[in-house]
């Protein structure tokens, strides 16, 4: 039993090490969400092919004065239905990514959709993220059902 526990500890340690190394290499980090879960995200992905798959994620950037986008982290949109929190009252730059992976030597590719959002305090937003058969769509609506106008960051730089 003690031996098993030791094996488990070693496995966990190795797992943590490998995960941290891989995370460090990829440059991605988990997003530390705001406690207020103000985004209700519904994701639907289907590659349209038995030989490929699609994974959706969203990168969150804090937008500083001078239009500098500061990367804060990434959330995998693996669950069809989930909530996440971004700070209210200040702009955040959301980059939704659809990463396609081919099997049997197929190609890999990523397409992204960017949106600048400034959530109002005490408000919730409905986000529909869809990638079906190589056609994607992201729609962000407020509680009244109004679609949030998409804004980009022309001329801004990321850090």
């Amino acid at each position: 039993m003690i031996r098993h526990a030791g094996t488990a500890v070693r496995l966990i340690a190795w797992g943590a090490l490998v995960t941290s190394v891989l995370a460090g290499c990829s440059g991605l980090k988990p997003y530390a969400e705001s406690p207020e879960k103000n985004l209700h995200i519904r994701t639907h992905t289907a590659s349209g092919s038995a030989f490929s798959s699609v994974r959706a994620s969203v990168d969150v950037y804090r937008v500083e004065r001078g239009c500098v986008a500061d990367y804060e982290g990434t959330v995998a949109l693996d669950n069809a239905d989930m909530t996440m929190g971004v700070p209210a009252g200040r702009p955040s730059y959301l980059v939704f990514r659809f990463a396609s992976s081919g099997f049997l030597g197929g190609s890999n590719s990523t397409i992204s959709y960017e949106a600048l959002v400034t959530p109002r305090p005490d408000s919730n937003y409905d986000v529909r993220v869809r990638y079906i058969d190589n056609i994607y769509n992201v729609a962000i609506r407020d509680e009244a059902g109004r679609q949030i106008e998409r804004q980009r960051l022309p001329g801004c730089r990321s850090s």
Partner: protein
């Protein structure tokens, strides 16, 4: 994707131009060239949506979806190629017709052998027009292979089904 880029960059302009030293410089020239060109086609469909709705969708989605730059990297054991392609949509709306022009400009990685129109080579032209019964006719001029996703997206804007942006990496 690499195939689509090669098609768009080299083969399609060459075929549209009849393998001479020029190819369509305007949307109207593109419309005239496509019907007789190899690996290009004209598709016509009628959709059960009012013209105003179809026109509005095209006006909304074209700048949102087609104003993109795509970077393609092709790597083998003996080669490494980077192609950067910029796409540019133009929408013109009248009471009787909504025109969508899609042009592509290769910013990196592709040699230009013919004169490129301002804004890039014409890749696709789509015309929506009203027909009786609150329906809309859509004529799509474009390549017959290599850009299926773009054509399906434009058709979706007309039909209202799976409305979204084409993944240009496909």
């Amino acid at each position: 994707m690499r195939y689509a880029v090669i098609l768009g960059a080299v083969v399609l302009p060459a075929l549209l131009s009849g393998c001479v030293t020029s190819h369509p410089q305007t949307a109207e020239e593109f419309r005239k060239a496509v019907p007789g060109a190899f690996m290009a086609k004209v598709e016509t469909m009628e959709v059960n949506r009012p013209y105003e709705d179809v026109s509005r969708t095209i006006e909304e989605k074209a700048p949102e979806c087609l104003n993109v730059a795509i970077r393609t990297v092709s790597q083998t054991t003996t080669s490494y190629q980077v192609i950067v392609t910029e796409y540019r949509p133009t929408v013109r709306v009248t009471d009787q017709r909504t025109e969508l022009h899609v042009q592509q400009h290769h910013k990196q990685g592709v040699l230009k052998v013919t004169k490129e129109p301002e804004g890039g080579y014409y890749l696709l032209v789509a015309d929506a027009s009203p027909v009786a019964g609150g329906r809309t006719r859509l004529d799509v001029y474009g390549p017959s292979i290599g850009h299926d996703t773009l054509i399906r997206a434009v058709k979706g804007w007309a039909t209202g089904d799976n409305v979204g942006c084409p993944d240009f990496t496909k």
